[in-house]
């Protein structure tokens, strides 16, 4: 019973793929931010970054394939 509810809670393979993509984007964001802390202060920089990294770049890659 518990195992079934745990399975329901765990993400599916496509959901995991999305999560890994965001983790990669986050790793780059963190690396830039630790090097240049000004990068971390602006919410709008964060929004622009995530839209580019999590939507625009994957979309371009898919189109080029």
């Amino acid at each position: 019973m518990r195992l079934r509810s745990l399975r329901k809670w765990l993400p599916s393979r496509p959901e995991l793929r999305v999560f890994v993509g965001y983790c990669l984007a986050a790793a780059i964001y963190i690396a830039i931010g630790v090097t240049v802390t000004d990068f971390l202060y602006s919410f709008w920089v964060g929004v622009a970054y995530v839209v580019v990294a999590a939507w625009a770049v994957p979309m371009l890659v898919r189109r080029l394939e």
Binding site: Y29, G33, L40, Y41, V50, W55
Partner: protein
């Protein structure tokens, strides 16, 4: 002040409140108290001029000052204006919830907030040091060395536990349907970009928390001090 809680709280409130709430005004409300003031607390340079409050804590949280932005009356007033101007009770109420969450969260530091302004008493738990007056770099180091960053971590852990709130299915089924703003924006912006926008505050709050923690403790070795009111190596402001 909090650095990531204001980014992450709206996801939890949206999920758990038994009221119909809209995510965008909830998030705007969560940022609203600091929108006008934070830049002047830390100061900015414009050409030869340095613009900065002479008493940042007083300016940010006090009266005279802009401390009223962290009060219930301010959130209610702006919420009612939003309700009237946009003819949307949903947006007005959602803004109020977000603003109240911010004002209550900031009672956690040593300065606290004037929740019941015009009564100028500062409600404060004093769990972590308010160090905005030391400048943004020292403030970041202090915040990410005390209990404030642990409070942020609670929201991050909760966010990962309730990870379905950031899935595409949740966005389509709950967030998009609850607020006409998303279909309106969808006329020009594709669904994939909307989903990234919805996830942006979660991404920003979590990534920034990790980055500042690495910066403070791996690059610079500021000491952790998780005692009440800490870190005590920084001068904490009080009301």
């Amino acid at each position: 002040m909090s650095w990531a809680a204001h980014d992450l709280e709206p996801y939890a409130f949206q999920k758990h409140l038994n009221l119909k709430v809209a995510f965008v005004p909830l998030l705007i409300g969560s940022y609203a108290p600091d929108m006008m003031t934070k830049w002047f607390v830390y100061g900015i340079h414009i050409g030869p001029w340095d613009l900065r409050a002479t008493d940042p804590a007083q300016f940010h949280r006090g009266w005279p000052g802009f401390g009223f932005t962290h009060s219930f009356i301010y959130g209610t007033a702006i919420g009612l204006i939003i309700w009237k101007v946009f003819d949307s009770k949903l947006w007005g109420v959602s803004f109020i919830i977000g603003q109240f969450a911010h004002a209550i969260t900031d009672t956690g530091d040593t300065v606290g907030t004037m929740l019941l302004f015009p009564w100028t008493y500062h409600f404060h738990i004093g769990a972590w040091a308010y160090a905005g007056q030391t400048g943004r770099t020292t403030d970041a180091a202090a915040y990410f060395s005390g209990l404030g960053c642990m409070w942020d971590l609670v929201w991050i852990v909760y966010g990962f536990y309730a990870w379905r709130v950031v899935t595409g299915a949740y966005f389509d089924g709950v967030i998009y349907r609850a607020d006409a703003f998303w279909p309106w924006l969808n006329r020009w912006v594709p669904r994939g970009a909307l989903l990234a926008l919805y996830r942006a505050a979660f991404f920003y709050g979590t990534s920034r928390w990790i980055a500042w923690t690495v910066w403070a403790h791996v690059i610079h070795h500021y000491p952790y001090d998780l005692s009440w009111g800490g870190p005590h190596w920084v001068h904490a402001a009080h009301p």
